[in-house]
């Protein structure tokens, strides 16, 4: 076996092993080391994805296929695969998990073992979604992601947590119905749910004939994954779920789950149904509506985490625009935005955790002038805001630029204009947030507030450096991708 075999298998094996260790140990020991276990899993995942990313060109592979546990002898049944796209998202999973643990060290002090078990299940589900090669397996892992998310949100049994979780559960069931029905329709026509077979079927020209059930399948699949991604008008569960969960869990949900469960699914669909303009147009319209409606709703909120959650809706819109634009450039823009959004959403939720730990509230009308009291939090928050708004030279600028360029070059000029224009909305709701929280006069009750210490502070510093460094080094990354022939 080659090195790449071991490394790639680890995406599925490591979470299972961590779950086993976590449960086989006595409760007493497990409580103490559980966070380190997650941290180790996150680091391993980051290392594995980076190593794989650079091993792919070494083995001259476009896509690395492999199997696990069963049907090993049958060469036709290599039903797992990784490519550069999924590796980038796998990297993001590891990254966000790591930040989540850094925050959890401050915010979670009971039910640590359950948190770790569920977190590992969640990661197992997300990793699985990224490496499968057929729609049904994708659906199975999607359910794993969904169910572990419900429980994570409701883990601490707070009233709002249970409510948020319930809403998510209802909307997810709806999504499951959509996806499952859609799969059934597609299966009726194609006879298989393998990505390759569906692509072949569409390319062979059947897609253009009037096969209403096939189209119905597409519509339902798009609706299902759009629900999972939180795009408007399927977004209604998202703010409740993300706001009511513990911050360490909100980071995961907002930072990566919606993207893997939703946006990645839509990326797969757009690639499978390539050449059907209706799919692209649907994604573009949904993306535009998401950007504007998400931003308008964020403008009206007073809760720090709720604003950030609505901002996720708005930013998912940008990713959909990138996916909908089609072509390598659009996809690259979407994936880069997934990574950038992960960094700045992590930063903002770290800020939320820091603010909640130090002031006890997240109502932005209560705060003010905290920049002086918490300089690291304030600085990282402003950086995240600038990055989200797409101000050069921060990282967010580049991904938005790629998306707008892709839209322009693929002749979706109206959407490009809207995407550019709605950056104003992003800037406006974040400016409001920043102004109310970090600038102005400090209320008397926060006279003695101090900067947060420990892992959250380190997370903030680390993320700020990443946002600036990625922004500055992004042209180099583009050159590298060009050298690898991806662009």
């Amino acid at each position: 076996m080659r090195v790449i075999d071991y490394i790639t298998v680890s995406f599925l094996v490591v979470p299972i092993i961590i779950i086993l260790i976590n449960n086989l140990l006595s409760k007493h020991i497990a409580k103490r080391i559980s966070f380190y276990l997650v941290g180790a899993a996150a680091v391993l995942q980051i290392a594995a994805s980076v190593a794989d990313f650079f091993l792919l060109p070494y083995y001259k592979l476009h896509e690395y296929k492999f199997t696990l546990l069963w049907n090993i002898d049958n060469p036709d049944s290599e039903y797992f695969a990784v490519n550069s796209l999924s590796l980038v998202i796998l990297f993001c999973i590891g990254f966000v998990t790591f930040i989540s643990v850094l925050i959890a060290k401050h915010t979670i002090d009971r039910k640590k073992v359950s948190y770790v078990n569920l977190l590992m299940t969640l990661i197992f589900g997300m990793n699985g979604m990224l490496i499968v090669t057929d729609l049904f397996s994708l659906y199975v892992f999607l359910e794993i992601v969904g169910i572990s998310s419900f429980v994570l949100i409701a883990l601490f049994k707070s009233e709002t947590g249970l409510e948020g979780s319930f809403k998510y559960l209802v909307m997810s069931s709806l999504a499951s119905i959509f996806v499952l029905t859609g799969l059934a329709f597609v299966f009726m026509h194609v006879g298989s749910l393998q990505y390759e077979n569906i692509s072949k079927y569409i390319l062979s020209g059947h897609g253009s004939s009037r096969l209403y059930l096939m189209y119905a399948g597409m519509i339902l699949l798009i609706a299902g994954f759009a629900t999972k991604s939180g795009a408007v008008p399927f977004h209604s569960w998202l703010p409740d779920a993300h706001q009511s969960a513990d911050t360490a869990i909100s980071v995961l949900l907002s930072g990566i789950v919606i993207k893997v469960a939703g946006v990645y699914g839509l990326i797969i669909l757009s690639r499978l149904f390539d050449g059907i303009p209706a799919v692209n147009l649907t994604l573009l319209v949904m993306g535009t509506v998401s950007i504007i409606v998400g931003a308008l709703l964020a403008l009206k909120q007073d809760h720090f985490k709720r604003i950030v959650a609505y901002s996720s809706v708005s930013q998912v819109g940008y990713m959909l625009l990138g996916v909908g634009a089609g072509g390598t450039l659009g996809l690259l823009g979407a994936v880069t935005h997934i990574f950038n959004h992960a960094t700045f959403k992590c930063t903002l939720f770290s800020n939320a955790a820091a603010l909640h730990e130090q002031t006890g509230t997240l109502d932005i009308n209560d705060m003010g002038g905290l920049h002086e009291k918490m300089p690291v939090t304030g600085f990282s928050s402003v950086t995240a805001f600038l990055s989200t708004a797409g101000i050069p030279p921060f990282s967010g600028f580049w991904s938005k630029l790629l998306i707008v360029m892709a839209l322009w070059m693929n002749d979706f000029k109206v959407f490009a204009g809207i995407a550019l224009f709605s950056s104003i909305f992003t800037a406006s709701y974040f400016l409001r947030l920043q102004k109310k929280v970090f600038f102005g006069k400090v209320p008397n009750k926060y006279e003695y507030v101090k900067e947060i210490g420990g892992s959250i502070k380190y997370a903030e510093i680390f993320l700020t450096i990443i946002m600036i460094a990625v922004g500055l080094a992004f042209p180099l990354a583009l050159l590298y991708l060009k050298g690898r022939g991806i662009l």
């Binding site: 809403k167 209802v170 909307m171 709806l174 959509f178 009037r210 189209y215 597409m218 519509i219 339902l220 798009i222 609706a223 759009a226 629900t227 408007v232 008008p233 399927f234 209604s236 569960w237 703010p239 409740d240 303009p277 209706a278 147009l281 649907t282 319209v285 949904m286 409606v293 308008l296 709703l297 403008l299 009206k300 909305f425 406006s428």
Partner: protein, 646 residues
Amino acid sequence: MFSYDMFNTLMDSISSFLSHGANIILFMIVLPLIWGIIGWLLKKNYLLQLAVVVLSSTINILFALSLYLSKGFYVTFPFASSGLDIAFNIYKFSALFLMFIAIGFFLVTLYGTAFLRNEKHAGIFLLYMYISLAILNGAILSDNLGVMLFFWEGLLCTLFGMLVTNNEQKPRAAVKALVLSGTADLLLMLGIIITVYRAGTPFISQMGKLSITGVSTVGFMCMMLGAIGKAGCMPFHSWIPVAAGDAPVPFMVAFPGAIEKLLGIYLAVRIVIDIYDFRSGSISSIVIMVIGTLTIIFAVAMALIQKDMKRLLSYHAISQVGYMVLGIGTALPIGIIGGLFHMLNNAIYKSCLFMTAGSIEKQTGTTDLKKVGGLGKRMPITMICFMISGFAIAGLPPFNGFFSKELIFDAALESHLIFYLGALLGAFMTAVSFLKMGRAAFSGPLKFPENSPGKLASGKNGFHESNISVRESDIGMLLPMVIMAFLSIIFGIINTLPLDKLLGSALGYNKTYSGWPHSMLLVVVSFIILGLALLDHIYGYRKTGSAINAADHIHYAPLLKNIYNAAEKQWFDPYNHLMYVVNGFSTFCTLVERSISWVYDYGAVKIVEGAGNLLHRLNNGSLSRYLFAAVAGVAGIVVIFLVVLL
């Protein structure tokens, strides 16, 4: 021994050194800046500043002289794109102006340093002067019109800076100068754009001669107005009298007296001989001549009634530009060389006149003719310098002003009688006003204000009431004055030197214009005019009994009185009319801006807020509504699919 050959070898080596690489930029432009910074850092250290001025000016004169004596060369420095190349063209004409500037700069700066001795602004004055020198050198050397414009605008900055440093609280003159000179520069910029567009190249040496037709007429007029506007011609003049009240004398000597005229007239001549095919008798020629004649008459008429030396001189500074513009506007070789010669002479005697006014101000604390008088006994050298320059400006032989004026009269008469008559009227009033000013300041009983600074100057032997006196200025101020007055005589008596040796050869004229004016008739008429001026002065003196009011009978003559009243209320000041237009425009812009702001501040906010509220109310937490929204979403996707597929 030092011989002529050695001198030649030295000049050759300097000029070949300058022609290599970027040396010309370093030594003609960067070096003055460095000198300026050194002078600035010296602040109030008079002797060291004097040393810096003498040393730097000597070096600068040597450089300019070597360039003038060299065969000339062309250097380019590639820059961003081909149209922006910095190109320097060193040939006879430009090098000659470099030399004038180098010598003029030396005298003016020397005077200024002495005048501002131990004063707060001495350092910053030097800095601005040296920056101006660098800019002037750059503007004169540039072959690229765009690069020249860059330097040209730089002079506006130093002009503004100098006016502001002296009057930081209420920079009235500075703002006025900025607006008017800025308008002239804007016209120049427009003209340059049109010219470059028509010629297809920004380099003057490649332009050939553009004919003045169609759009080119606009380009020519804009460039010409910009150039003569810089020189202080109407209608860009009205800041100069204001500055005379606010700014220190060294500024007046330097800027309106010498620098701006040198640069403005230099460009005007370049335009008419190098860039455009400017012909005598054409419409544009007549327009330029009308501007020149009007400037002569109106400015000198205003000068006539002034009771303050600096203001009076500042109006003369404007009126003399009129002669140059008239001369150049004739488009005849005799007119052009006359205009240039007059520019040179004017720089000499006008600087000298401002310097004498400065000396009087330094000693008595004022230049108001009502408060001073009879200073000739106390300040004899100043008086002699004033007389020489006064005779020169009035056009009395054998001083330099006479010869240049006769050339311009000759050219004007050749164009049309009316211009000649206008110029004669100007000459008459010039003579009258200088008779008045000279007699009021220097003859009669001694009088000066009680609080003259002369008291302090003489205070080093202990403070005694008996020491309150006005005396001759010190050597640093006298020397430039004397040199200027001496030059006035030299350029008059040996007028072949400036006319044929310098200007004529630089312009490439074969004909000689030097010597006694060839038309005896013109000379006789000029003498009659001067005689009339003397008679008028004597009449006015007899009538009012004092020299200062000798011109009042003209001031209060019927009809003229009303015009003067209007002028004193600044009805003729183009600045005020410009300001009406500007204010109207800004009111309009404010309205537009307000309404746009309203859209941003209220309109857009209300729309966004309304949309936000609506959406907020729709998301009320009811699950059934959320499910309905999801189903509606699916329906929406169906609609999109149907639209695309059908």
